[in-house]
């Protein structure tokens, strides 16, 4: 996060920036509380009976306030840093406390819906009276702010273990229910009982996790050094086939076994993640490779789903009753064709207009699908029902676990296509178009063909995802195909990294998987997506797993190669003149 380090501290007095930071932090915490996140998480225990996730959110805010202030005031003395860090947290705590006092006297509930007893209970840290609760709140903030600023003092080597420990405890705590279910049914049962006896992590469990992860993070650099020769060996040019075989040998059994380990609910989640990965790979080609911001992407998903429904369902207006396997390629082709059709009008448009037009297309299709006009054909608001599950040699893919395999295979196909395209003449042409369209044309690149190709392939993948989606659900309704899906897919490739293939996987796991796993998040998904988009653009526009090319375009720093200095100017001039 080096990019956030501002260097303007010399011109603003430290107290003024502390006050600013404190107020901002206080308002942010208040916002998080009033939007409902604190309350929603209050019921979930992080560490059993000790601290709930909701309370953890409060604590971590104070902590972060202290930490960042301490980090940014490196030019002040140690005592000053700690003081300012603590004060930032205190100020924010005071703001929240003031609101608490106000809200317990005046009832805001019919305006700010989360200003209710549950929230107050959390804010008051289980004190009876609001006033004592407010005081405890401020004290807690002060303590966490102090801790945060203290932690910002020592060098990175000392900080890392503690941060890692806290992070691990948080993650495990959030996923406690999930892990409990997973571990309990296998050989790890005693571990499950130790860590998760009731709700959340047990106290000894939390301590153990903290200590273990702190130790691991300290040892990690040494571990890295020890394995360096091995890693170098496997990454050297000739060994690529070996590396590839190893990866395949590990992943394939894992994937085959996964649905059975995860059982039904989680397999369902993974299947959804997989469908989004498919869509993500498609949009990645349109946005990430070719640089065309298509906001109407959900239209192709809808088309794929509807084609599947129309062709396979005996209740549809066509009543052709094709099999899933026959209908899927047709879905893909139809979706791809629409991709070309919708791409043709936007070929010469500049970026923002292109986004809006594609958005318009998506909305037009959505409204038409819901309308009465097309009802006889595609079922209107009632959608299409009775879509049969895929079947192969008599085996019906009726549960999510089986559909998972279909999704995996399709995702692998899409991954292969994306990979081949990126490292090819076509991929280079797309990058050229993105960088400078006019010059790209002067290179002999036919803009029309390449842009339409991107649209077509992106739409095809989306149609594939739509077809699988329809078969999985058994029935489709037009209301589910709205702009939010396009935004979902866009968010996940942004977070993962535009144009980056592993990024799509990471993005999908984080933005689609996590909300499904953390049920409390469900209502706040869109809020998170919005914040994620803005946050990523401000902090790391190239994504978390950036593609090399995009990193150069978007990241803040310039990388200057060392080689350049070795080549001397006179020598080169000699060559040219000869």
């Amino acid at each position: 996060m080096a990019t956030l380090t501002a260097t303007r501290h010399s011109t603003i007095s430290p107290w003024r920036s502390t006050a600013q930071r404190g107020v901002v932090l206080g308002l942010v915490v208040l916002f998080i509380a009033l939007v409902g996140l604190v309350g929603a998480f209050a019921k979930k225990d992080l560490v059993y009976e000790v601290i709930s996730v909701g309370q953890f959110l409060l604590l971590i805010s104070g902590f972060i306030g202290g930490y960042i202030t301490g980090q940014r005031s490196e030019h002040l003395g140690i005592a000053a840093r700690v003081l300012h860090g603590t004060m930032v947290a205190v100020i924010s705590g005071v703001i929240v406390a003031l609101f608490l006092l106000l809200a317990t006297t005046v009832d805001f509930r019919d305006i700010l819906v989360n200003s209710n007893r549950d929230l107050f209970a959390v804010l008051q840290f289980k004190q009876e009276a609001p006033l004592s609760g407010a005081i405890v709140l401020v004290v807690v903030f002060a303590v966490t702010g102090l801790a945060g600023s203290l932690l910002s003092l020592p060098p990175q080597r000392w900080r890392a273990p503690i941060m890692t420990g806290l992070l691990v405890v948080l993650l495990i705590g959030l996923l406690a229910d999930l892990l409990d279910v997973l571990l309990v049914s296998g050989p790890f049962k005693p571990l499950a009982e130790f860590l998760f006896p009731r709700k959340g992590i047990s106290v000894p469990g939390a301590l153990a996790l903290f200590v273990v992860s702190a130790i691991v993070s300290t040892i990690w650099p040494f571990f890295g050094q020890v394995t360096t020769p091995a890693r170098k060996w496997i990454n050297s040019p000739g060994r690529k086939p070996v590396k590839f075989t190893l990866i395949v040998a590990v992943l394939v059994p894992l994937i085959i076994v996964l649905p059975w380990v995860l059982q039904l609910y989680l397999s369902d989640v993974m299947t959804n993640v997989g469908i989004y990965i498919l869509m993500g790979l498609g949009l990645n080609i349109v946005v990430g490779f070719a640089g065309l911001l298509d906001l109407g992407y959900v239209a192709f998903f809808a088309i794929g789903a509807y084609v599947m429904g129309l062709l396979t369902s005996p209740d549809s207006s066509l009543a052709l009753s094709l099999t899933f396997w026959e209908a899927l390629p047709i879905s893909m082709v139809v979706a791809g064709t629409f991709g070309v059709l919708l791409g043709i009008p936007v070929l010469r448009m500049r970026g923002d207009y292109l986004a809006i037009v594609t958005l318009g297309f998506g909305e037009i299709i959505r409204i038409l699908a819901t309308s009465e006009v097309l009802l006889p054909v595609i079922g209107g608001p009632q959608g299409i029902l009775g879509i049969p599950k895929p079947a192969l040699f008599g085996l019906v893919f009726k549960d999510a676990q089986y559909i998972f395999y279909i999704v995996v295979v399709c995702a692998l196909i899409a991954l292969y296509v994306s990979w081949r395209l990126s490292d090819s003449r076509i991929g280079r042409a797309w990058v050229a178009i993105r960088e400078d369209e006019d010059v790209a044309e002067a290179m002999g690149i036919n803009l029309v063909s390449y842009k339409l190709l991107a649209f077509a392939i992106g739409a095809t993948f989306s149609g594939m995802a739509g077809g699988i989606f329809a078969a999985k659900l058994g029935s489709i309704f037009p209301h589910s195909f709205n702009l939010l899906i396009s935004i979902n897919v866009l968010s996940l490739i942004i977070v993962g990294g535009m144009g980056s293939l592993p990024g799509v996987f990471i993005g999908a796991l984080v933005l689609v998987g996590l909300p499904e796993l953390l049920r409390e998040f469900a209502e706040y998904r869109l809020l998170m997506y919005g914040a994620a988009l803005v946050g990523m653009m401000l902090i790391k526009p190239e994504g978390f797993v950036p593609a090399q090319q995009r990193k150069r375009e978007l990241a803040q720093e310039d990388v200057f190669p060392e080689e350049l200095e070795e080549i001397s100017a006179p020598a080169v001039a000699e060559e040219v003149a000869s």
């Binding site: 076509i426 044309e441 002067a442 002999g444």
Partner: protein
Amino acid sequence: MSLLVANMVTKRFGGLTAVSRFSMEIPERTIFSLIGPNGAGKTTFFNCVTGFYTPDEGDIVFNTRRINGLSTDRITRLGIARTYQNIRLFQNMTAIENVMVGQHSLLHSGLVRTLAWLPVLVEENKATTRARELLEFVGLKGKGDVIAKNLPYGDQRRLEIARALASDPQLLLLDEPAAGMNPHETTAIMRFIQRLRDELKLTIFLIEHDMRVVMGISDHVTVLDYGEKIAEGSPDDVRANPKVIEAYLGKPVEEV
């Protein structure tokens, strides 16, 4: 044999006529220069040749084929390549990637072959080798993996030329190739352009302000002023032409 023939080419932008009834012929394997004061319409004419603009009147014929009205990518594939006045490299690509894009029109890997992977391997390998050779030819040996925006100015100009050569053109349009160069570099570029004509058998069409370059290497010079041709001929003819002198330097004071 004339490689490029322009016949009464006119290009207007709203009320402004940038190029007016301009005719010229470029013989094969010559260095042909287009000069004139700033704003005379030289780059506009270049853009008409490459298809970026379509002339309002007149024709441009390349290799006995009418090219005005064709799309830019088509024209490139017919054998015309160019460099730009203010360098327009693909800034975030490496040098060799820039040259590889330049080879686009010569390569054949379409969608199917790319997906099949094996057919493409050989072609990509050959393309990479040729790209390295081109880089070496322009004096950028070993700098293939440097990102274009990090190259020094002179190297960027050379890279642009390498990229233009990559499409194996017959006619190379160079827009102020010596801009911003010191005398030593200018001499180098002059000799380099002559090599292009002699060794690679290219025809060079040049816009240039540096008279040393123009007079030093041109086989033929045409002068443009306010969109109209005011003189043409050998470098010596043009240098002595009073209209040319007037266009650049203005009328002598006594006559005012």
